[in-house]
């Protein structure tokens, strides 16, 4: 083989290598906190925690389930509840259709049964990408049914919340989901069920003021915003800037509103420990 041929072949290999590298680089995510651009695959591996600044990026329900539950153990429930527009809000159906397309879920909540290190649980995860994880009738109904499901089978109930609050587009129907979900978990707990409420960024308004604050055990992710009224509303009311740590997970811990702040890498082991401590003898 002459020298030209060798170079030609090498150049071909270089081209392929370069192409592969660009393809791998194509999927990148910018950290909303420090703005570092990180390869998505690396972020995924780090459980969506920024390797540069430690910021907790929001996690979609499927990733959450993957990190928490035993591989292949998750079975979805109530995933085919029909969408609806109870107060006939203009353009709401179109908006829902777009959201479904974007997230692949039927609304802002993924419910199912799974195992955590072998222990069966009923588990639900809110999807903050779907209309800010707001709670309307479908989310409320899925939480209600998941709670009933857990009650009937004597399974522990784990709900990861991530929500801007009640869903505006369903009006008072959404407000009533607060009463409904609170009543459901109250009944479940009264009958001896274990409800672990897991608060992630952000958990606010109608969600934090209903079922999410009623966990037998309440866990929050570091730095998660957890509040009833959002910081902007409060700043407008009182006319001054709020301290940075106000309404964040560590602040709530200090004020006695939650049991613990748990790092993402300890999420699965912490849940397992709680489940084990409640396992019937």
């Amino acid at each position: 083989m002459n020298i030209d041929d060798i170079f030609r072949q090498r150049r071909k290999r270089w081209d392929i290598l370069l192409k592969q590298r660009t393809a791998a680089q194509e999927e990148q995510t910018e950290c909303p906190s420090c703005h570092a651009v990180v390869e998505t695959s690396k972020l995924r591996e780090k459980r969506w925690v920024c390797p540069h600044c430690g910021f907790y990026l929001s996690m979609d329900p499927v990733s959450r389930i993957r990190f928490v539950c035993d591989e292949g153990s998750f079975r979805e429930l109530f995933g085919n509840l029909p969408q609806q527009n109870p107060i006939k809000f203009p353009q709401y159906e179109e908006k829902l259709a777009t959201m479904r397309e974007k997230t692949g879920g039927n609304d802002a909540f993924l419910a199912g049964e799974a195992r955590i290190r072998g222990i069966r649980v009923a588990i639900g995860v809110m999807d903050s990408r779907f209309l800010m994880g707001s709670m309307g009738t479908v989310v409320g109904e899925k939480i209600a049914r998941l709670t009933e499901y857990a009650g009937k089978r004597k399974l522990p109930l784990i709900i990861f919340s991530a929500s801007g609050g009640a869903r505006m587009q369903e009006g008072l129907f959404s407000l009533m989901q607060m009463a409904k979900t609170a009543a459901m978990v109250e009944q479940f707990k009264e009958k001896g069920g274990l409800f672990i409420s897991y608060l992630t960024n952000p958990t606010t308004g109608g969600v934090s003021a209903s079922y999410a604050s009623l966990g037998d055990i309440i866990i929050a992710e570091p730095d998660a915003l957890i509040c009833f009224a959002g910081p902007r509303v409060i700043e407008q009311t009182i006319g001054q800037k709020l301290p940075k740590e106000f309404q964040h997970a560590e602040f709530l811990l200090e004020h006695g509103m939650i049991d613990m702040v748990v790092e993402r890498k300890r999420m699965r082991s912490t849940l397992h420990k709680i489940l084990k401590l409640h396992a019937s003898v």
Partner: protein, 266 residues
């Protein structure tokens, strides 16, 4: 103004009017021997909530509701009817006390919303509201809630998980104030009038959507109608056992799913 022509926003303005009938007047008009009770036994007494015991046609009842003032000075003292966690916890304490003594509970709702303040958040506004929703869903005494003016957001619902929910004809009941709604949906708080229409917040609309149980006409007949409605309803509810009441109330809220067409998943 004829009723047909009245817009939702006209009612919002009426519901907020400074001379609107307030809880103290309802207590004066409908009950005897009112005895006000104070404090949450945890931190302080929240003056935005009035609570106490009275008799209604000879039956002891517990009365709880938001208080708005007539003057600026009063309004500042009552925080414009915006309740803090201490107020919701006082309400809860009085409801549990009512259950212990078998007294029916009557709540009067009139609030622009739960108070959005630093102290309110630090002291667990979310937790206070959530606990009320949970406790009200299982109390074993009759509960009647009356939205008399503005029933806005979780701050209103925290007194509203009842066997019967009634609204005064010009009261409004909503997920958020129309101004707040407009600024979230359209980023423009000045579109409040338009928001009032799309939100479906009037007594008539909410009755049609089956989210409330009755509409009380306003004007001269308001007190007598409310009086006889309370007599009739309490008589009915008091015949039920505590467990029956709690079960029925639980089912009433469990059922609210908006699935009108009867199509269900699973």
């Amino acid at each position: 103004m004829s009723e047909k022509k009245m817009t939702a926003y006209d009612r919002v303005k009426l519901a907020r009017a400074a001379d609107r009938t307030n809880i103290m007047e309802y207590i004066e008009a409908l009950f005897e021997d009112f005895l006000e009770l104070h404090g949450d036994r945890l931190y302080r007494d929240d003056p935005s909530i009035v609570g106490g015991i009275a008799t209604f046609h000879g039956i002891p009842v517990t009365i709880i509701g938001q208080r708005k003032g007539r003057t600026t000075e009063e309004n500042i003292r009552f925080n414009f009817g915006m309740t803090s966690p201490e107020g919701y916890r006082k309400a809860r304490r009085l409801m549990e006390q009512a259950e212990k003594f078998g007294r029916p509970i009557i709540t009067f709702i009139d609030t622009p919303g739960a108070y959005p303040g630093i102290e309110a958040e630090s002291n667990g506004q979310s937790n206070a509201i959530a606990e009320n929703l949970a406790v009200m869903s299982r109390l074993k005494v009759p509960i009647i809630a009356i939205v008399t003016g503005e029933g806005s957001s979780g701050g209103a619902l925290a007194l509203g998980v009842a066997d019967r929910v009634w609204m005064l004809e010009n009261a409004v009941y909503s997920i958020l104030s129309p101004e707040g709604f407009a600024s979230i949906i359209w980023k423009d708080a000045s579109r409040a009038a338009e928001a009032s229409t799309v939100m479906k917040i009037t007594a008539g609309e909410l009755k049609e959507l089956e989210l409330i149980d009755g509409v009380i006409p306003e004007g001269n007949r308001s007190f007598p109608i409310l009086d006889s409605l309370l007599v009739e309803t309490l008589e009915k509810l008091r015949k039920q056992s505590g467990a029956e009441l709690a079960n029925a109330r639980f089912r009433k809220f469990r059922r609210i799913d908006g699935l009108f067409d009867g199509k269900r998943g699973e």
